[in-house]
């Protein structure tokens, strides 16, 4: 067939007209193809120390300590080092800097910082397009922050940084914000720097207990929270016709085809585990198999409309979904602006607390500056404007009260619309007692467990 293919291609491109000319028959096509591949292979061998032969592969994932990559990384290293001296010339030990082996080279800021975050995840001045609170930090600290809305999705961002992290190269970012489970994975793989808590006095003083020492990062060794929320259930009472209280309502055949699930494995599987009475942290593989079984039957019968990412919001607001797994912060927005009918509940069997956390990638060049900006946002004065823009849970104590004060101030000034919005945000800037009683943590998964969970979940997601 191969030869036929090439032959035909030749014919197709020179139709009829020149058919009188003798046409090469390509007897050596296979040889030429293999030559191309060999040449190509040599090409890659020339790029670094032949990865295939050393057995240290270069998939975006595959290299933990690939000699090829480390050799190749050397060109980038000097630029990193050259950047350091500008700020590190005076290594005077700053206040109580405990020895932090190889993580924070010196407790002196370098004067610059590269911060990657999700789009629209910090307060933006809609008039000027600037980041007011961050700009205030720059003025106060003299640190020049390159703030980039570079993160589109946890997995994708991980995939983009992974080869450099595995090779020990600087990623170009000093601070990144990832969701809890990804923080856990990156810490487990050794891709994150340990934090120096002596540089985080505001965090020590102001962090809510709920956001300290969490499952994904005991003692906040590698990360501190940025914003958080709850995974629960949202439903549209006019479409369901009754109040929803349990996870099993998602599986009610009455709602077939109008139920949304998350494509995020940990969310969907952990919610299903809770509905089986299993706390995710204690879940065994057998439990996960039971969760798979619980979802698989309904999935095969078309119970779920689709497995959604962020786009569940549109489907729910538009009325395509009657009931779905949902994120808390979204629904308060939706009630306010896009669909007043929709309700958010934490099901009887329990919901999940998710936390987006900030961390410093391994080999980051300006870790001290990164600590400083993190700590800055744990000052209520700076955390409140952030929450007022973003609208999720704030990990900083006192933020809801501050937002409420700002709402009152806005009302006094006659800006009722802004005041209304701030009041909603104040009410949802921290989970209430009732929610907290029934909110659980995700499980730390080993790589092996994660693979099994993914495979089991894959059966549910894919036909």
């Amino acid at each position: 067939m191969r030869d036929g293919h090439w032959h035909v291609m030749g014919r197709q491109t020179g139709p009829g007209r020149s058919s009188a000319e003798p046409r090469p028959r390509w007897p050596g096509v296979a040889a030429v193809v293999s030559l191309v591949i060999v040449v190509a292979a040599c090409g890659i061998a020339g790029q670094g120390a032949s990865p295939a032969s050393t057995g240290s592969p270069d998939g975006p994932g595959p290299q933990t300590s690939s000699p090829a990559a480390t050799v190749a990384s050397s060109p980038t290293a000097p630029s990193g080092e050259s950047a350091a001296p500008t700020g590190d010339t005076d290594p005077s030990p700053s206040a109580g800097a405990t020895d932090t082996p190889s993580t924070a080279p010196a407790a002196t800021p370098a004067g610059q910082l590269s911060f990657a975050n999700w789009p629209l995840y910090i307060d933006i001045d809609e008039e000027t397009g600037g980041y007011p609170t961050l700009e205030k930090f720059e003025q106060e600290s003299g640190i020049d922050v390159t703030y980039a809305e570079d993160i589109n999705a946890n997995e994708e961002f991980f995939g983009r940084l992974q080869p450099d992290l595995a090779a020990g190269n600087p990623t170009g970012y000093d601070l990144i914000v990832m969701t809890d489970w990804m923080i856990e994975r990156m810490a487990r793989l050794g891709y994150l720097q340990e934090l120096d808590h002596s540089l985080l006095p505001n965090f020590e003083a102001n962090a809510e207990d709920l956001f300290r020492d969490a499952w994904y990062d005991p003692e906040n060794r590698y990360s501190i929270p940025w914003q958080a929320g709850i995974v629960g259930i949202a439903y549209n009472p006019t479409l369901t016709g009754r109040p929803i209280t349990t996870f099993d309502d998602l599986l009610d055949p009455e709602f077939a085809g109008r139920v949304g699930m998350f494509s995020e494995m940990r969310d969907t599987m952990s919610m299903a585990l809770l509905s089986l009475g299993v706390e995710p942290v204690n879940a065994t593989i057998e439990d996960v198999e039971r969760a798979r079984d619980k979802l698989l039957g309904p999935a095969q019968e078309g119970q779920f409309r689709a497995f959604y990412g962020n786009d569940y919001y549109d489907a729910l607001a538009a009325g395509d979904l009657a009931i779905t797994i949902a994120w808390s912060g979204d629904i308060s927005q939706m009630k306010l602006y896009d669909n007043a009918d929709v309700e958010f509940i934490v099901p009887e069997s329990g919901g999940l607390l998710w936390v987006d956390s900030a961390a410093i990638p391994k080999a980051a060049e300006h870790p001290v500056d990164a600590h400083m900006v993190l700590d800055y946002f744990y000052d209520v004065d700076n955390a409140a404007p952030l929450t007022e823009y973003v609208g999720y849970f704030s990990p900083v104590r006192g933020v809801p009260d501050r937002v409420r004060e700002d709402a009152q101030a806005a009302r006094d000034e006659g800006d009722d619309e802004w005041a209304d919005q701030l009041e909603i945000i104040a009410d949802t800037a921290f989970p209430d007692e009732e929610q907290l009683e029934n909110v659980f943590e995700y499980k730390r998964l080993s790589e092996e467990e994660e693979r099994t969970w993914n495979e089991l979940f894959g059966e549910v997601v894919t036909d």
Partner: protein, 284 residues
């Protein structure tokens, strides 16, 4: 032109583009081929074990999705051809001076971000939205009827998004056809239809061939339409590869599945080329 120069001309033409493809496509692909034959994990690292059986495993694991993708891509190719041919024909033969404008009108919608286009479609086609909602209200549609999250939604999404890939090469091939040939055809044959079938269509075959390739090949590996417009039972092979790679970090499986897909596509292209090549094209 000196004979020696003339003989080397094709290679000179090929050289820059060819080198580009070798450096930035072939070389990385060789690396990927090696990844597909490795075993290991992120934590412990991967090593090359020449694990060829993985190709059989992924093929048997994901055969239904491969077949479904083939089926969708074929349907989409035929649909774009049926929808696109009259458009290209009209622009080429009846567009007059507005040819360029018309052609541009067909392309312009695709200058906007995919997400915005798709979001728009989701708003329009929402179960109780502007379109279906009003039809349901006046009783023309069953209340349970829906377009989104069905195979039809995925196929129409693909058809919409790949239509320009069919129209452009068709237009390019049709526009080239000498009008005098058509007039001669009209003199020779009794009907317009016959002229079309015997003159225009055969002469436009290079366009049909090119358009089919430009639609079929990317459509079969597409995952975005199925991800946004589809449901569980519309999972395409592109979605599987995407999930294996990005979410499960199962790099070897994803790479192997990618190569399986590429091989399948090339085999089909070869068959198609032989079919078209031995029939209509040679008559040009």
């Amino acid at each position: 032109m000196p004979r020696r120069l003339r003989r080397s001309t094709p290679y000179l033409f090929l050289l820059p583009g060819g080198l580009w493809l070798v450096a930035f496509f072939v070389v990385p692909m060789v690396v990927m081929a090696s990844v597909s034959l490795q075993e290991g994990s992120l934590g412990s690292g991967y090593s090359l074990t020449w694990n060829f059986p993985i190709y059989g495993e992924v093929l048997s694991d994901w055969a239904p999705q491969i077949v479904r993708s083939l089926w969708y891509a074929l349907t989409v190719t035929v649909l774009t051809l049926l929808i696109g041919y009259p458009i290209a024909y009209t622009i080429a033969f009846r567009g007059g001076r507005a040819k360029t404008i018309l052609l541009l009108l067909v392309i312009l919608p695709f200058f906007t971000a995919f997400i915005i286009r798709t979001l728009s479609w989701k708003l329009i086609l929402a179960d109780n939205g502007f379109l279906l909602g009003s039809l349901k209200e006046i009783g023309l549609l069953d209340p349970a009827f829906r377009v989104l999250a069905t195979p039809a939604a995925v196929i129409s999404g693909l058809t919409y998004n790949f239509l320009p890939f069919m129209v452009l090469p068709l237009y390019v091939a049709l526009e080239r056809i000498d009008r005098h040939l058509l007039e001669a055809g009209e003199d020779l044959y009794a009907s317009r239809l016959q002229t079309f079938l015997r003159v225009t269509l055969p002469l436009s075959m290079p366009g049909v061939f090119a358009g089919s390739l430009l639609v079929f090949i990317p459509a079969i590996g597409d995952f975005i339409n199925a991800a946004i417009l589809g449901s569980r039972d519309t999972t395409m092979i592109g979605n599987v590869i995407q999930r294996l790679f990005i979410q499960n970090n199962a790099y070897p499986e994803a790479a192997a599945l990618g190569f399986v897909l590429m091989a399948a596509v090339l085999a089909l292209v070869a068959i198609y080329a032989r079919w078209v090549g031995s029939d209509a094209l040679t008559r040009g």
